[in-house]
Amino acid sequence: MTAGHERFIATDGVSKTYNPRRADPVRAVDTVTMHVDRGEVLVLEGPSGSGKTSLLSLIGCMSRPTAGRIVVDGRDVAKLAESELTMERRQRFGFIFQQFHLVADLPVIENVLVPLYPTELSLREMRRRAHAALGRFALDAKASRKVRTLSGGEQQRVAIARALVNDPQVVVADEPTAHLDRRLAEELLAILEDIHRDGRTVVIATHDPRIFDHPIVDRVLEMRDGRIVGERRR
């Protein structure tokens, strides 16, 4: 455990095998034991195919392990029913995807509202939250514009606003700088720093040195062939 930090997420011998019943099963994550502290910025680093996205999905309750335990805030999420796992995702996690996964033909505000539709919030409260999230990234003025009319950097910020609209404890980002130039990558890192300053935990999967060399990063876990092969603290 990082000194002075509370352990928030922990995996214990976690494995993830795709196509386990086929002749060519793929073991993406191989008996990984690691942890994430509350309020920490953790980077999973490694080349393509090293299993960092799969581990990120396991940590973010987006998939279930083939073996092992995943404990989030003291709760073994690997054993949760589908509905409870959904609630974990909805209440604790905000996701920033590599390809944004925005709906290009929907207005910006509607994209940000997507995580709030299945909640019991009123439409007024949903819109208030969405505007607040967009306002944070100076996008409120473009709330009614279609996403496809925005620049790449603006789309990235819409995706981040969507990740934050549920006020998550953990922000999970998969290769967030993969499609960004240097200036936009700097902008993103500034946003992540801002998010971290809120006291949120941030877990990033990347092979971009601009991220894992950045001062906001507390720890880097190196992955190769589904295993953690090294750890660097800052």
Binding site: S83, T86, D105, Y117
Partner: protein, 386 residues
């Protein structure tokens, strides 16, 4: 409740996003439903018209058959039939079809002595009571541009023109019943058709007990082997079989379109596109549960299919009841080329709606929800990975 309404709103917004594709689906699907509904509605309307006709039909009609052909029946058969136990009034009937060369239409001529043959109401005027008078149906009046106070010229059996004064025009809840009808006094019709004295077209027989009709029919057949007694229920069954057969034929012809639609539905049911899978994965990653995703897909399917259903049904109702089934009538009616125009009486039952809904809405909604279910129950990461 609030959550359901919000998911419905999201579903409608998703449909609007793909409005051109969805509009194309609604058009094709709506057309399919319109044709299917037209066939069902028209067949049922025809059955309804037939039942209307048979409300006032005799319990038993006795025809004479000579060499397998319908022939005129001796009126004196009536006396002997009247003597059978349970039999009431036995009356000779004079009627026949008349091909009108002017309008190339078939009219139905009926002779009366007292009241009209069925439960008919006059729109205007009165029934014929004096020689050379007649009352006409709406279709005949329209086809021959005549009406009360005008004349109707017909060609008699010996090729001579005969002029009748139109003294009445019919209306009825069933227009098919009176549309092609011309009513005369019996004597006028006998003369017009040249029916020999002592003969009638058939005999109508009143039977006091409905349960005895077939027994009386059997007795008539035994006494007069050259006759063919026809009960009202037999006529009803015949109408039913004829219309069922014709609608079945139409459905068979339409089967290619139905098959194409089934293939479309099957294609939808057996898989969803990679984009749709990824979208479901994203929704789940963003905190949507399996139930939420399935509800979204249900609303999408329901909105499309109900819209198509309503549009198809309205189109079918307009086609059948306002436009007189102009596209299907030639097939269902059979000889309608020679038949004056008429309108079906508008009617639709809950059962018809249920059958149509079950055949169209349910399969579409199921084919929308079922393939999404597989993606929705899979972990979002695996769905997005593809």
């Amino acid at each position: 409740m609030r959550r359901h309404l919000k998911i419905l709103e999201f579903a409608l917004s998703a449909l609007w996003r793909r409005r051109f594709k969805n509009l194309a689906i609604v058009v094709v699907y709506g057309f399919t439903i319109a044709v299917l509904a037209s066939i069902l509605l028209m067949t049922d309307a025809m059955r309804g018209e037939a039942e209307q006709i048979l409300i006032g039909a005799p319990d038993l009609v006795v025809q004479r058959v000579a060499a397998g052909r319908h022939d005129l029946i001796p009126v004196d058969y009536a006396e002997e039939i009247r003597g059978l136990p349970g039999v009431g009034e036995v009356s000779p009937r004079y009627w026949g079809y008349y091909f009108d060369a002017f309008t190339e239409s078939n009219f139905t001529f009926v002779g009366i002595d007292d009241g009209p043959p069925y439960e008919l109401e006059l729109l205007e005027g009165r029934l014929p009571s004096a020689p050379s008078e007649c009352a006409v149906g709406e279709g005949v009046a329209r086809a021959r541009s005549t009406g009360v106070g005008h004349e109707l010229t017909l060609i008699s059996h010996d090729g001579l023109g005969v002029i009748f004064d139109v003294v009445g025009e019919f209306q009825a809840s069933s227009s098919i019943l009176t549309n092609d009808l011309v009513v005369f006094r019996n004597a006028d019709l006998v003369e017009l058709f040249g029916i020999p004295e002592g003969r009638a077209v058939d005999l109508s027989v009143e039977v006091f007990n409905d349960g005895e009709v077939s027994t009386v029919a059997a007795k008539v057949k035994r006494i007069f082997p050259d006759t063919r007694p026809i009960t009202r229920s037999e006529i009803l069954r015949t109408y039913d079989a004829v219309f069922s057969w014709r609608s079945g034929m139409l459905l068979t012809v339409f089967a290619a379109a139905l098959a194409a639609f089934c293939i479309l539905a099957w294609d939808k049911a057996t898989g969803i596109s990679a984009e749709e899978r990824r979208e479901i994965g994203v929704l789940k990653a963003l905190g949507w549960s399996t139930r939420d995703v399935l509800e979204l897909k249900f609303w999408e399917g329901a909105a499309i299919s109900l819209t198509s259903f309503l549009l198809g049904l309205i189109a079918a109702l307009v086609h059948i009841f306002l436009l007189g089934a102009s596209l299907l009538a030639p097939v269902i009616q059979g000889w309608s080329v020679l038949f004056p125009e008429f309108r079906f009486t508008p009617s639709i039952t809950v059962y018809q709606l249920f059958v149509l809904g079950f055949l169209t809405v349910v399969p579409y909604v199921a084919s929308t929800v079922a393939p999404s279910w597989k993606a929705a129950v899979t972990d979002p990461e695996e769905v997005m990975r593809g």
